[in-house]
Symmetry: D2
């Protein structure tokens, strides 16, 4: 972490749960220095430590406690803006920052499906960055919905090797995915809620875009049909996905396991937030489970288990993704690191890491 100074970043929507994760992740980040914590006009002007309802189990970083909250709607001079805004606010505010020449790395759903906006998971479709290459500095790059992130990391290797055609997926999603105050305790304590508004449509269309190809300056989605049913469960962090997959080419569980293992070991050692493994495979009936496995790879590793043949389609498996890290703040951070490493920001990061350190898996 020598030579060049860290890149200056803003966090838009810094008081929400994903924003808090970003604030925590940026505290000691080797490349990025958080200089603006921005939120709605309601919070603007107050010290961050007072404006936020801090929900993480780790303490609030010291720098954040007294930082004045800036208004998210007023772009500033920074090298990157992270957006953890609500979709509606994002639709209005992110273009302002992009228009001011600031690359926006967004976790919001507002522009994910825009043809010229990369929907990015670095291990899967880094090539989609060509959509923004040469487009000047003001652009938006997005990461997928939290559950989609788990879905697509599990499907990508299978798709490459065998062609994924159809997927039925049932999700069991953590309450942190609904933000704060989010789900009322009266609704979820000892209970399960069927149907998370808007979530199924995201799962059903985002995966195909991510696994698609860039042609003529736009993404042509992969021909994959996804059927999703979502449930909210009384778990703090970690979305589980129960998958049944139809492949274009028949395969065995052993072959599928190999493909997942090999892909799982793929890491992006030059990016500070990349885990040593993007997938971790488990045997047996007791993994993955949120409480035990959600923190693997510092929350950046997707856990896979219960890989079996499916009597109805071809394969069954269960995936677990940390919804506010890999599925949100961590995913956005990894995207920003990829932008920096690819030279898509105005300035270079202090020094690309020379070798993998990553989180342990």
């Amino acid at each position: 972490m020598s030579g060049a100074p860290r890149l200056k970043v803003a966090v838009l929507g810094a008081t929400g749960i994903v924003g808090q994760r970003l604030v925590a992740l940026l505290e000691r980040h080797p490349w990025f220095e958080p200089v603006i914590l921005a939120a709605s006009a309601r919070s603007a002007g107050r010290p961050y430590g007072e404006a936020v309802h801090w929900s993480l189990e780790t303490p609030m970083p010291r720098f954040a406690q007294t930082a004045p909250v800036a208004p998210a709607g007023k772009p500033c001079e920074v090298d990157v803006a992270f957006s953890a805004l609500e979709a509606e606010a994002a639709r209005e505010i992110e273009p302002l920052w992009a228009a001011a020449g600031v690359p926006v790395v967004s976790n919001a759903g507002a522009f994910r499906m825009e043809q010229n906006v990369p929907l990015l998971v670095p291990e899967v479709n880094a090539g989609h960055l060509e959509l923004v290459r040469g487009s000047g500095e003001g652009f938006v790059v997005t990461n997928p919905n939290c559950a989609t992130t788990g879905l697509v990391l599990a499907l990508a290797p299978l798709h490459r090797a065998f062609g994924v055609e159809r997927v039925t997926v049932t999700t069991l999603q953590a309450i942190s995915g609904a933000g704060y105050p989010g789900v009322a305790a009266m609704d979820i304590l000892g209970n399960v809620l069927p149907g998370i508004p808007g979530e199924e449509a995201k799962l059903e269309r985002e995966a195909a875009k991510i696994l698609g190809k860039v042609e003529h300056g736009a993404v042509k989605p992969a021909p994959i049909t996804v059927s999703a049913q979502t449930f909210r469960v009384p778990v703090a962090e970690g979305h589980l996905l129960s998958l049944s997959v139809r492949l274009g080419r028949r395969t065995t569980v052993a072959e599928a396991r190999d493909v997942l293992e090999v892909f799982g070991r793929s890491a992006l050692p030059h990016l500070p937030s990349s885990p040593a493994r993007c997938l971790r495979l488990f045997e047996g009936e007791s993994a993955p489970q949120p409480r035990r496995h959600v923190g693997l790879g510092s929350g950046m590793t997707v856990s896979i288990g219960r890989l079996r043949p499916c009597p109805v389609q071809d394969l069954r498996l269960v995936a677990l993704v940390h919804n506010t890290l890999r599925g949100a703040a961590g995913g956005a951070l990894l995207n920003a690191e990829l932008l920096a490493a690819e030279g898509l920001l105005r300035r270079a990061p202090p020094r690309p890491l020379e070798s993998s350190s990553g989180g342990a898996t």
Copy 2:
């Protein structure tokens, strides 16, 4: 409740969670009088109130508190024996009672798949009782696994109308399904466990038998392929099922809804434990949920929601079943009532109900 005395019944495995439910349901049953509470040799001889770890939210019936626990392995003179034994014990003990001429109504898994043993859900396949008709008094009738009961009540009307061919089902199952002490709090608090040992195989084979036909003194299973993935969730009572169904004949959601509605209104008004509706349909994204809907029809009504087209198969829906009532003790009781009403017990019940009362739905 006039004239003839109530039929005398034994409860085998009376100290377990399903046994407790039976004891509670039998307290004021119009036809059946619990005269024997039997359990393992370890408990035998002690007062039931001391031998049991009572887990229900309603108080222990007064009669049970001081009743001496009988050894389950020693058949007695009763009109019916309810079995809430563990599968292994059931395999040994149920035949002893049947051999002694006692009809056994079992919730255990031991003999469910035997060719000449009815696997019975009265609203669905009462006709399967012909397997035991004329076989003398000592026979075994079983009810399905708790999750299968919900599955088959949801599928039966669709199968009759359109032919069910393939089903992918993901379950979110309550902890009471694992008995007591069952799941350790350390394992499930704020967590989800993937994979309930043995459960998926039951879901995959029992539905086809129940929806099958009796031919030549044995059940010929319906040609339905089921793919099941199971999860344990921190919910006290109520298994949720997330279903995607391939039908033999295409249909619309409206038509499917009609079929489910009509079947749902079917009740067995001559049986005291029959709910006024065996299915209850909900609109919208927020039903069914365990805490709110598990008690409908006194726990005997299966709730259905989120009926939608499935882009991968034909239909999607969510079902909720009370796992220890409709899915276990209540299901067994309804089976015994059907046996009594059909004249398959030695004696007639006090008086068949003249008109529906049933539980409210």
Copy 3:
């Protein structure tokens, strides 16, 4: 339930959790007929079934589903108005109804400590009704805070027999006490919150008033010092109280138990909502607990356990009260029944019950 028609009642604040409980309790009440369901201006005019977020585990009464919500701020011609309003709204709205000549039976905190307002628990201080006797029809009668109700039912017999001087009480309170949406799941899942705002002051002053005496048209509080510390726990219904009590006269646990047992058996058999026992005593270390015992006496019985000598003061015990029934809606209903039975309403109830039925304990 013959002769005279039922008394017409309004429920103010009918959409909140306590209001919902009242709506459910009034569905088949022998004396009272709910004719007005009133709430804030925001809900007024909409059908109750749409305006409410129904949170009970039992279904919404049919009558309520389509009833139009009336504005709570406009008094109507009814025999009694139940108030389940928030304290602030109650302070403004309850006097309007009283001024219009309607007796208000309030669960709200607004006027509990007013000198001429009875703070009433029928088994404990029915005599305090003399404060409103002869005052005309428009008056306010209140029931205590939910936790205080449990406290005072446990203390009353000890106070009468031995004189309670000082109490330290730690409460473990259910989330339903905070209303809906109330506590965020993110705050309470797998967690405990120390300190419920405003709750401790209520516990510390209400008990002394209830156990006090009416002198010269005002209540002279009993000389009891209470020290309260409150906690919110992830439990749906049922507040636990951990008590240590200093008595004016030394006693033995056996004597204290007798006193509690005798008082516990006191019932008000002429009031429909009175449980057969207002207290239920348990032996051993495993009672009372919310899930097992909160429903005793249809939620109107306070459970007492772990009665032991206290090495620091005199006695220790644990009490459990159903916070939205005995501690709120049920307590208010019992108060209204007492008013009716005492002839303090304009009209007599249909027919006083001739003998106790009460909820089973």
Copy 4:
């Protein structure tokens, strides 16, 4: 961490929850090297990774996975034996190791109240080590019960400054305190259990010993009367204590706060597991809470909040202790570090730390 090799340690009871914590803490400990993982005869001989039901949220250390489990009953040549045995096993096994000349640092309750056995919390009563000084190598040093540890760290500064005379304490204890499988989910999900067997007696007698003085080779307990009531709550980690304290000398909240603050900053910088602060004070009604604060100081800091005057005694406050770290494995480890630093082990540790690092608070 130079020069001398690490001290060799055994962990007795290594498969239990406290044992697992020790295994995890010892993985990278600068002074101690775990060479023996011992458990009951039932587990002996199997690889640790198979014998254990790993319950921590962090992965099992690599070294432990294949380590063969040794029989706890056979003493080996090590520098220290940590005991995380059940009390009954400890009573039998710990003396065997001590007799073999191995210092035993025990978390078990078996010998805590023996006159010549130090019951040790380093920040509070390091001086009690004189009980074992010069007694040769084979001795037993114990740490208190998990809840007592929190109690005594909160009381110690008040006792020194003002003299604590009487304490009423109600605890809200996490399920991990009951070990594994421990509490059944059916018993605690959405519930609270009153009365943890045996726990109250420990709270009532251990604090007085720890705050006492060594006279004539034995501890003379401080004249403090404790009255404890315990509850089990559905929380994974972290015991809360609600305290009311009578002091020998009246004081103000401000003065008490100062005393707690000053003591709280006391650290033992020469011991690797000492947190930078042993106490952390919070203002307001929302702290401490298990989910947010249990991890402070890497689980070694006790959090204090809600310090207020008590109308019944003198002071009220709430304390939170990480029950399996500070209250068990971490407490034992700190004790062993103190023994090493004081020269009470056969060999010196590799190198005493030169300056505080400790966990952040």
